[in-house]
Amino acid sequence: MPGWVEIMIRSVVFLIVLFLITKALGKKQMSQLDIFQYITGIVIGSIVAIHVTDVTTNAMYGFIALAVWLVIPIAVEFAQLKSKRFRNIVQGKTTVLIQNGKIMEDNLKKERYSTDDLLKELRNNHIFNAREVEFAVLEPTGKVNILPKKENQPITPKVLGATVAPEKEPQTVVMDGKALLEPLANASLNTNWLETELAKMNVSIENVFLAQVDSDGQLTVDLYDDKLTVPEPTEKPLLLASMKKCQADLELFALATENQASKQLYQRNSERLQKAIDKITPYLE
């Protein structure tokens, strides 16, 4: 067998084996989370490279080595699940770089982190002034994570004291003009519902590139034909508007009438409506 044929055959075979091994090692391996996975990745790659390009090697040995490097990482991962101490050895521990807003110079030295490295990592986290940091930690993966001081943290609805409606994940019900049955079932809807909603918008399903439905059953579609405009879901904004209008009307009636009993009735109900509007607004926006 000429050398080049063997190289081609080896390449294909090792490609398949490598693919299977990576699958078996799992998603964690893809992110190279810790030292061990980092080493495994390098070694497996090198084994394959040697045996593919060098036809004088025995391919069997390559497979044996790969098998070992497949079994050991999996065994180590299981051992890590069981023991915290083993995990500390294999994965390494986090190092605190900044605590209570003060830079830990000793820890920086231990990790051989220069001031420039630290500032660079802070900038990576969109922080340009070290005084904005309350706490910073160096993960075993080499990534620096930062907790900014409270006043520099992003505003959340909780900080503002605002109530927000809960939002569940949307379901993608149409892709490339084809209805997807499983997501429809997840949203407890069916194809009949989808057809009705699309008919309401006056579009055919073949023209729909993507359609998603949110947890409140509102459908948003994107069409292949970008010249067509699709109506946005209007049910909720309309409801809120008509509630506000009714409330205003009742207030007006209360002002217009001279009958005391009627006046009170209008006022009472206007207040009730106002309370209802306040309560429902987060859910309708």
Binding site: A165, P166, D216, G217, L239, A256, S262, L265, N269, A276
Partner: protein, 67 residues
């Protein structure tokens, strides 16, 4: 427009709001949202009942505009 017909218009809007809330609460898959929709719907119902009696009362007062 007489007062009576204005109130009647408002009454029908309230009815439509009540129906929309019912459909929203049927469609949502989120329990918390469903709860809020139901609570608001109950409030709207009491408003609806009050207005209904008011509409009847007004029709009696302005019989010439009875529709």
């Amino acid at each position: 427009m007489t007062v009576s017909s204005q109130v009647k218009g408002c009454f029908s809007s309230i009815k439509s709001i009540e129906a929309t809330l019912q459909s929203l609460s049927a469609k949502t898959s989120d329990q918390e949202a469903d709860k809020v929709f139901k609570e608001v719907r109950n409030t709207i119902r009491t408003v609806q009942n009050d207005l209904e009696s008011q509409v009847l009362h007004l029709t009696k007062e302005e019989p010439q505009y009875k529709s």
